[in-house]
């Protein structure tokens, strides 16, 4: 294994780790949404079903940025295009 390959592999591993930092934003956002949903349930317990399904829908949509980061990390780890460029 050449030095260039080692450098590219190490940089890809670091890059995959950095890509997963994208999980921070959705984590904060989903926590905020869940907190608001808890407040709403406390105010209107009879609308619990609607609130829960709306919250889950919003959370799953907000998650997409984290998923993009995850896809980048998966590509860097399992289908690395940079190694093939050497």
């Amino acid at each position: 294994m050449g030095l260039e390959r080692a450098i590219v592999l190490a940089a890809s591993a670091i890059g995959a780790g950095l890509a997963m930092i994208s999980g921070v934003g959705p984590g904060i956002g989903q926590g905020y949404a869940a907190g608001k949903a808890a407040e709403s349930v406390a105010r209107q317990p009879e609308a619990k079903g609607d609130i829960t399904s709306t919250m889950l829908f919003g959370c799953a949509v907000a998650e997409s940025t984290a998923i993009y980061g995850l896809v980048i990390a998966l590509i860097l780890l399992f289908a690395n295009p940079l190694v093939k460029m050497l």
Binding site: L56, A60, L70
Partner: protein, 241 residues
């Protein structure tokens, strides 16, 4: 973790690979077709069988979900949305049987998202005409055209990546947990003299099931619901313009 295994190759155009994804999906498609066929035999108006009650309940649930989300007059989309939901849920839950879930393959989810994408565009053209559909791209001001095109293309990409990413992430984390538990049980058992007992990864029993409740059951249901919900919302927006 690797991509789906290639089971065999069709000897055409230099060998078309047929992967685990395709084989599993055809099996489950056949099972779903058989289920639908069995549920809808000899339907009656009076004295209905238990089987017919189940079938009617399923159809009514789907119809009421679509009416609640899209409003009345959109029931013609019910077959597509029901199919999407069933295929998605069965595919993601197939990981409980130890199969590789076919929704953890971007080809499958991207295919579904592309079908939805063309459905949105055709609905939009039907409701506004070709001129109105083209005009939508230069609203509110003409120089925003590239942004509008990107945002149209982004919807199938984000829909397919979301479904694929959630199921694939569950698969990766579960396999990481399994290998970690195998290493931990090797450490735990390394003093046992019997080589056969030493090779049993005892910690793998039980613990992954807890994670499986979230990654297999909850995520599967949620993602199937999300992809149907997004389809309904996008199509409704396209139809109402």
């Amino acid at each position: 973790m690797t991509g789906p295994r290639i089971i065999f190759r069709i000897p055409l155009f230099g060998g078309i690979p047929v992967t685990e994804t395709i084989v599993n999906m055809w099996i489950f498609m056949a099972l779903l077709c058989a289920l639908a066929f069995w549920l809808t035999r000899d339907l009656k108006l009076r004295n209905i069988s238990k089987r017919q009650i189940v079938a009617e309940k399923l159809v009514l649930t789907l119809d009421s979900l679509i009416e609640n989300t899209m409003g009345p007059g959109h029931l013609k989309f019910a077959p597509y949305i029901g199919t999407l939901f069933m295929l998605s849920i069965v595919g993601s839950l197939s990981s409980l049987l130890g199969l590789r879930p076919y929704t953890a393959d971007l080809n499958v989810t991207l295919g579904w998202a592309l079908v939805t994408f063309f459905m949105i565009q055709v609905t939009s053209i039907k409701s506004r005409g070709v001129g109105g559909w083209l005009h939508k791209f230069i609203e509110p001001v003409p120089f925003i055209l590239p942004l509008n095109i990107v945002s149209e293309i982004a919807s199938p990409v984000s829909m397919s990546f979301r479904h694929f990413g959630n199921i694939a992430a569950g698969m990766v984390i579960t396999s990481l947990l399994y290998s970690a538990l195998a290493a931990a049980s090797a450490v735990l058992l390394h003093l046992v003299p019997n080589a056969f007992i030493r090779s049993i990864p005892i910690l793998q029993a039980g613990l992954p099931a807890v994670l499986s409740i979230y990654f297999d059951l909850f995520t599967s249901f949620l993602q199937a619901y999300i992809i149907c919900m997004l389809t309904m919302v996008y199509v409704k927006n396209a139809a109402e313009e």
